[in-house]
Symmetry: C2
Subunit: 304 residues, 2 copies
Amino acid sequence: MTEIRLALVGLGNVSRAFLKLLSQKITYFSEYGFTLTVVGVATRSHGIATNPAGINPALAIDAYLQGESIEKFHTDKRIYDTLDFIHQVEADILIESMPYCPDMGQPAIDYLISGLNRGLHVITVNKSGPAFAYRQLANLAREKAVSFLHEGTVLDGTPVFSLVRRTLPATQITGFRGVINSTTNFILTAMEEGLPLGDALRQTQALGIAETDPKHDLEGWDAAAKTAILVNALMDGNITPTAINRTGIQNLTTRTVIEATRQGRRFKLLAEAIRRDDQMITRVTPRLLPLTNPLAHVTGTAGG
Amino acid sequence: MTEIRLALVGLGNVSRAFLKLLSQKITYFSEYGFTLTVVGVATRSHGIATNPAGINPALAIDAYLQGESIEKFHTDKRIYDTLDFIHQVEADILIESMPYCPDMGQPAIDYLISGLNRGLHVITVNKSGPAFAYRQLANLAREKAVSFLHEGTVLDGTPVFSLVRRTLPATQITGFRGVINSTTNFILTAMEEGLPLGDALRQTQALGIAETDPKHDLEGWDAAAKTAILVNALMDGNITPTAINRTGIQNLTTRTVIEATRQGRRFKLLAEAIRRDDQMITRVTPRLLPLTNPLAHVTGTAGG
């Protein structure tokens, strides 16, 4: 059995669901000859813990959810902060799942760079790194002969990056279009049913699918960050979210949305990219789609 | 440079398009350190040729399309038939692209078994082998430590089998549903526009998307064969097309189809599989879908 040691930065919804899945798949992993041990967890407001013998994920999650510090699971020498954690923890894989960092991707980028520089494989489910510094991170990973993976940043559980890298060799992606933000998609569907935008937004917050800052979804920043990652990773692009031609749904009214449905059309916040000659054209904008377009039928939370 | 030697059984539409693509991607392959050489081609009515130094694909295709025999490209000792070809040809990969073999998958299965037994990697774009003998072929390939690949048998260029095998580890597929036959899908769309079934069928034949025997599409055999492959390869099943609960579209009338659209619904020939406890439930049948279902908007030739 090979032991693979995981270090986690962030213990939010995604990390906790991931740890739960890990415990359900132990038999599967052992069939493939390896075990996974969580040797460190760094959180923003619940402390930091490292233990080379392994931290019990269920106990760490319990403490976290009860508002306690996870430092009682710490057995090593004092660790000062998250960057120090990344420098000290004896792990094989760093998993970063912090909330989005709208300040040009920092501090996530520095964390990812530190992990890669130490020779760790790095996995992020936070859009910040690959949206703002894809080229730098991918090049550093190649130089250090480790993986830099970010599958969870776009389309949730649907493997779009692995799809292209692992199953479409010799294929050049020249463009894409899609619905890639769940919150605005849910809101648009609710508005078609007569709800004002504000009420619809509150529903997405109650469902836990909205970003912390509602502007991030409504103004199209989330879709722009995902578009940047798709363009950088799949189309050999080199752009950041700020470079994307972006219009949100914040100025759409329920009346306009309903009026469109009466004409057999539907608003969707579409993310699009196309390479024309040497130019990369990227856009996030509400588009009126006829109901004959399959994308018009991606409703509710089905958008990724 | 590593030379990879290809032997082709069949030189139909798919094979010819494949050879054209190969010639366009030579630079790409050389970047990865290999060259591809076609060392043998066996056809049903245009002869058989083998040449260890390589057969020029463009010249072989020209001869084939002009109705000539390809035997003028043959340099080796006499080859008697396709099975003899598979036993003699000095190749690394066997690519089988014959038309569908409704007679329980034969002779395709015997050809694939012979290739695997010789230790060749085997690729088929013909549904026959994986639909009627998936388990046997997959086990033999594993025993011989070679690949048995059949990505082109379902959904054309969309990599559904590689998607699961290579990008969804630790995932169990419990079911699927989809539109997987282009011909019937095109016909249903044309019938909604008022065309009788027979005229719509002739359009698909003119487009070159229909199977040789129209019954194969209309009665749902093609969809059943694809369903069997999906179930066998992705859900660890062990079924053949004949075991699938199957109803075709041959008894649908244009009047019925149009009447459905007036009620906001649309007929689709759906392929479905679901595992319930230890039972595998499989079905190919025309289903009336509401227009709110995204599958209702897979129209024309978009079905795979």
